[in-house]
């Protein structure tokens, strides 16, 4: 088993150099988040008024904010927030989206019609507006951000799963399995689900970057993670904007971290899509 996996990685790296770069960025994010307490030179919440608003230098790699907190350490701990939001929202979006999409395509009829009208309605509202309104209803907290990000995505992404399922459900081998007396559950789990793994992975990987970006936008608009917790979007919004002239590094540091991770996730997702499901190419 070991050889094909390694060979697969090498083939992917050769064919998708940008995607490999993206994968490395995500891997770095995971490692930084996992070992945040080891890597960070300082406590991300420790204040030191005498060291407030110091420019990047030897003592503080990325400078300090108005409370004298070490920006570099805050960035490192912020990786945890981004990772939590990204993975949490992907899981919470993709699993229901798959269930709804597969069921909608498989059962068809009135159920499918109603589900598709809900998908249409959700897709008619710009994502950010929907997010802000959902956050108002739920109230601001980290868990609620994950829910707010996942809820609309689980509805609208179900359409991708639905169209993938429709293709498989009409194939001859599904008809053959049905003729052999397979139950609906067996058809869905044994015959359809394994064949739509590619779109599931693609939706998940592209969603990861999108969710991290959306979390930072929410924090920027004041509907995201509450201070003093270090979130890249929150750092940009609160400290970054307030001191953008006096201490521009408060803006650049989280902006670079955020853009790099989202860029990496998009590159990786794009490459995966090219490798796994060429039919989806150019859909986003």
């Amino acid at each position: 088993m070991r050889v094909p996996v390694v060979g697969g990685i090498f083939r992917f790296a050769r064919r998708q150099p940008l995607g490999t770069f993206g994968a490395l960025v995500i891997l770095t994010l995971v490692l930084v988040a996992a070992f945040a307490s080891v890597i960070a030179p300082a406590d991300p919440l420790a204040q030191a008024q005498r060291e407030a608003l110091m420019a990047p230098g030897a003592a503080h790699l990325a400078g300090t904010d108005q409370f004298g907190r070490d920006i570099f350490s805050r960035l490192i701990y912020g990786a945890r927030v981004s990772l939590y939001v990204g993975i949490g929202a992907v899981l919470l979006a993709v699993i229901p989206a798959t269930i709804v999409g597969v069921a909608s395509a498989f059962f068809g009829g009135t159920f499918d019609y109603l589900v598709q009208r809900v998908v249409d309605a959700v897709q008619a509202i710009p994502g950010l507006i929907l997010l802000i309104v959902i956050m108002t209803v739920l109230g601001v907290s980290l868990t609620n951000i994950v829910i707010a990000l996942a809820l609309p995505a689980s509805i609208s992404e179900s359409r991708v799963m639905r169209s993938a399922t429709t293709q498989i459900a009409n194939s001859e081998y599904v008809a053959a399995a049905r003729a052999l007396g397979a139950t609906d559950a067996r058809l869905m789990f044994r015959h359809i689900l394994p064949n739509i793994v590619s779109p599931i992975i693609v939706v998940a990987s592209l969603g990861f970057g999108r969710f991290i970006l959306a979390e930072s936008t929410l924090s920027f608009l004041g509907y995201g993670i509450l201070p003093p917790a270090p979130s890249w979007g929150g750092m940009l919004a609160a400290e970054g904007r307030a001191y953008m002239f006096a201490a521009p590094w408060l803006l650049w540091a989280p902006a670079v971290a955020l853009s790099l991770v989202v860029f990496g996730a998009n590159m990786f997702g794009d490459a995966l899509r090219d490798e796994l499901d060429p039919r989806l190419r150019g859909t986003r």
Binding site: R117, T136, F220, R241, V262, N266, M267, D270
Partner: protein, 316 residues
Amino acid sequence: MARYAARRLIGMIPTVLVLLFMVVLMVRMLPGNIVDILLEDGGTNTPEARAEFTHALGLDIPLPIQYGRYVLGVVQGDLGVSLWDKRSVTEIIAGRAQVTAQVAAIAIAVSVLVSIPLGVVSAVRRNSLLDYFLRSMSILGISLPSFVVATSIVILPALWFKVSLPFQYKSFLEDPVQNLQIVLPAAGVLGVLLSASIARMMRTTMLDVLQQDYIRTARAKGLSGFTVVLRHGLKNALIPVVTLLGLQLTALIGGSVITESIFALPGLGRLLLDSLVKRDYPIVQGVVVSVGLLIMFTNLAVDLTYGYLDPRIRYS
């Protein structure tokens, strides 16, 4: 064609009903006793004020009846009244929509001018260094948070040239120069960010078209490369891009929430944020409904223009 359009319009009705239901349900799902919170905000906790707020939010009647009334109102163009200044929500939205529309129109123009040439060049010079560069740039454009780009546009000139944007919005008729000074940067940001995904789509469809037999025929009969790419290639490759342009309206209106808050533009996005802070829920509902309807109609219009662009498509 007319019959197809009519059928599509009728087909839209259930979706609109679902949208309106979600909007009506939203106010009922707000945390805590919303009337108490409003009374606290308003500072007058009298039984009359309580009854008024309860009535204004439609909480004094059962959900189905409230929903029925809301649907009837929307059909007549009535989105209710603002909780605080009692003005008609439809009027408030119509006033703000002009600002958002001006920014959106310029943004779309910018994105078309930027993305289509880039996408075509990227496709014609496929896998060249230029192609790699343009593709990375467009993915970067998708990855950059628009609020970072917008904030940079506000602060960089101030930091480097000591020039700052005027943060006093004037309508175009009132003061065209000041209007454009603030609208153009905002529209430019949105336009450039939008062009990232359009350029990617343009590249993909152009590559597809350039492999078609009729392109080979055109080359074989000795047409110049320029004519082949533009007359035979671009014209056909543009069709799916038009669809994407229609879909981008959704992104533009979503993006307007960010740009309008950074550039202090009094448009729909700003209205939404302000109304949420003031808990003026009828306006929030009105914005969501009108944006949703606008997007649904735009998507329909895009589908209908398809027939003109591609004679192969026939509506039945």
